[in-house]
């Protein structure tokens, strides 16, 4: 994904609030993970609904994804989704039953879009 002007503005605003190294790490982590979602707009719609439904926090979502995906390549993502469904880690969004990893990625897309990271 290319960083656009909006991302830079959001980043600049958050830089004023966060310690420099921590913010940079968060942006790097989230960008690596969000690269798994080419259509972030669509994912953000799902993510927004879930965040509003279950009051997810950006740092918790990011931390959880880092643990689950550890580096974030597509194979790990597929494995994590399959494991979620096997283990019952299923999230319900307006009737849609999706893997928790999928929901967290969508939430991350929403947080990114909203400038909450």
């Amino acid at each position: 994904m290319t960083i656009n002007r909006r991302h830079l503005l959001v980043g600049a605003a958050l830089l004023a609030l966060l310690p420099g190294p921590a913010f940079a790490a968060a942006i790097n982590d989230s960008e690596t993970l969000l690269a798994l979602l080419p259509d972030r707009e669509a994912a953000a719609r799902l993510g927004e609904t879930w965040v509003q439904q279950e009051r997810q926090r950006p740092d918790a979502v990011l931390q959880s994804l880092k643990q689950r995906l550890d580096g974030g390549d597509a194979d790990k993502l597929r494995d994590a989704i399959a494991e979620d469904f096997r283990s019952g880690a299923v999230v319900k969004i307006e009737g849609w039953q999706i893997a928790r990893t999928q929901a967290e990625l969508c939430a991350l897309a929403y947080f990114s879009k909203a400038g909450s990271l």
Partner: protein
């Protein structure tokens, strides 16, 4: 030979070896199977060869819970309800015969293995092709479609074979008419089965017509085969000697009515970005030997056992493109789900599709779901019936559990499932659908305190009264009943011919 019962002088007495009451799937099958047995067969049908409104009105009754279309879901003329049968055929699963104590689903007093040869003989009767209900290879050979290797072991792929459907009253009319030993009385309604004073043997059948005349049939052996609801009604109304109803010494006649629970619409939607393989589940094969097939999903035995779940048949069809129904999905999450799925490795060039999921759910037999008589009477003076039926919370929870299994299975495979049935709630009236499958009201059990008929269909305590049809099912799995009705009728005819049923 067909005889119009309205033409007989009142008071006529007909002696016969075997009286079969009702010319539907069971009755016609029995008559055909017994036509060369050397016995005189009398087949008694309420209707004529075509639907007539005054006869059909004899089916009217009351609903005690869910508003149930008693007069519309059954047909009362030669061929019975096969005259509007959908043709879905599949044998019950072996586990369906075994019972599940935790759900109070009784075992059948016979096994699937015992019924298997009769299922195979029912195959040509229902004009089906080969016995390919479980093997994917013949179906794959016909369609060229590869099955989905579903992850996990919750769901399995099985097949329904469609009868054309066989309209028994048309397809087998000549067989019955030309059989030398079979006399069919049309427009003839048995209004009471009269036993001896000990109520352990049927002596006479009192017959009335809408023409006003009446006559009597004296059979050596009587087979009641007027359908899953009407079998109970006629036994309850046959109360001149046994005042609670014939065969009803244990207050069981009419109880345990079962229906396959469905929904008026879909119960789930499946979103897939890559729809190349899903047609396996909704494409019908071209006709092969008059029959076509379709694949369905069912829970595995392992899933049913570990979840204490109920059986279900899940059928899929192509519904719409994502976002094509914005009113149903105000937040436009469908296209968002598809886009997310594409992001996760599916072929992004494909457009994605939403698939509808319909179901037939196994019911739990409940004594509160039942047929009783009312004070109102029909045009022949027979008490009308009240059907009290409502699916229970157990069935509701089993349905949402099964849909959760569907979601897990397709989710792990690369799709996403939207469950359209809210969890943790009871049924709202407008959420209840049914299959027009009437079962269980004279159920089969080895113990007379648990059921009306024994494993061979003989009424406990009444040596020459047999019951055929879906009213004898103690449980019913999640498959349509007609094919099993025919298999059981063939089996009953064999036992009669072998002398074990009189």
């Amino acid at each position: 030979m067909f005889i119009d019962g309205r033409s007989l002088p009142s008071g006529t007495v007909i002696e016969t070896d075997i009286a079969i009451i009702g010319a539907g799937a069971a009755g016609i099958t029995l008559a055909r199977e017994l036509r060369d047995s050397g016995r005189e067969i009398t087949l008694i049908e309420s209707g004529s060869l075509e639907l007539e409104a005054d006869t059909q009105a004899l089916y009217e009754g009351e609903s005690g819970a869910v508003e149930y279309p008693l007069a519309e879901s059954r047909l009362r003329f030669f061929g019975g309800t096969t005259n509007h049968w959908g043709g879905w055929c599949r044998p019950l699963l072996p586990i369906d015969f075994e019972g599940r104590d935790a759900l109070q689903i009784p075992a059948w007093p016979l096994s699937r293995a015992e019924l298997e040869p009769y299922y195979r003989r029912a195959q040509p009767v229902c004009q089906l092709g080969a016995f390919d209900f479980d093997d994917p290879e013949p179906w794959q050979a016909r369609t060229g479609l590869a099955p989905i290797e579903l992850p996990g072991d919750d769901l399995i792929t099985r097949f329904f074979i469609y009868s054309p459907p066989t309209r028994f009253g048309e397809v087998y009319r000549d067989d019955v008419a030309k059989a030398a030993k079979v006399k069919t009385y049309l427009n003839s309604n048995v209004v009471e089965i009269l036993p001896n004073t000990e109520a352990n043997r049927v002596e006479r059948l009192k017959v009335a017509t809408l023409g006003g005349n009446g006559f009597e049939i004296r059979p050596k052996l009587c087979i009641l085969a007027v359908g899953g609801i009407e079998n109970a009604r006629l036994l309850l109304a046959s109360n001149s000697v046994q005042t609670t109803g014939l065969g009803n010494g244990n207050d069981l006649v009419g109880r345990y009515f079962m229906e396959h629970v469905t929904a008026p619409g879909d119960v789930a939607a499946i979103a897939l970005a890559d729809e190349t393989r899903i047609p396996y589940y909704y494409v019908h094969t071209p006709d092969v030997d008059h029959a076509s097939m379709r694949a369905i999903l069912m829970p595995s035995d392992a899933y049913l056992q570990r979840s204490n779940g109920l059986g279900i048949s899940l059928s899929l069809y192509e519904a719409h493109k994502p976002g094509a129904e914005p009113k149903a999905d105000a937040k436009q999450l469908e296209p968002a789900v598809i886009a997310m799925l594409k992001s996760l490795g599916s072929d992004a060039e494909r457009s994605g599709m939403i698939y509808g999921v319909a179901c037939a759910l196994e019911p739990v037999p409940s004594p509160e779901n039942r047929v009783t008589l009312t004070r109102d009477r029909d045009a022949l003076g027979l008490p009308k019936l009240r059907l009290t039926w409502r699916p229970t919370r157990t069935e509701r929870d089993a349905l949402t559990d099964n849909l959760g299994a569907l979601a897990r299975t397709f989710g792990a495979w690369g799709g996403a499932v939207k469950v359209l049935v809210p969890e943790g709630t009871d049924w709202a009236d407008d959420e209840i659908g049914w299959g027009n499958h009437h079962m269980g009201t004279t159920r089969m059990a080895a113990d007379p305190k648990q059921g009306i008929v024994d494993a061979n269909g003989r009424v406990h305590g009444i040596g020459n009264l047999l019951i055929a049809g879906s009213s004898v099912f103690p449980s019913c799995g999640a498959v349509n009943p007609t094919y099993t009705i025919v298999a059981l009728a063939i089996r009953m005819a064999d036992h009669i011919k072998g002398g074990s049923l009189g």
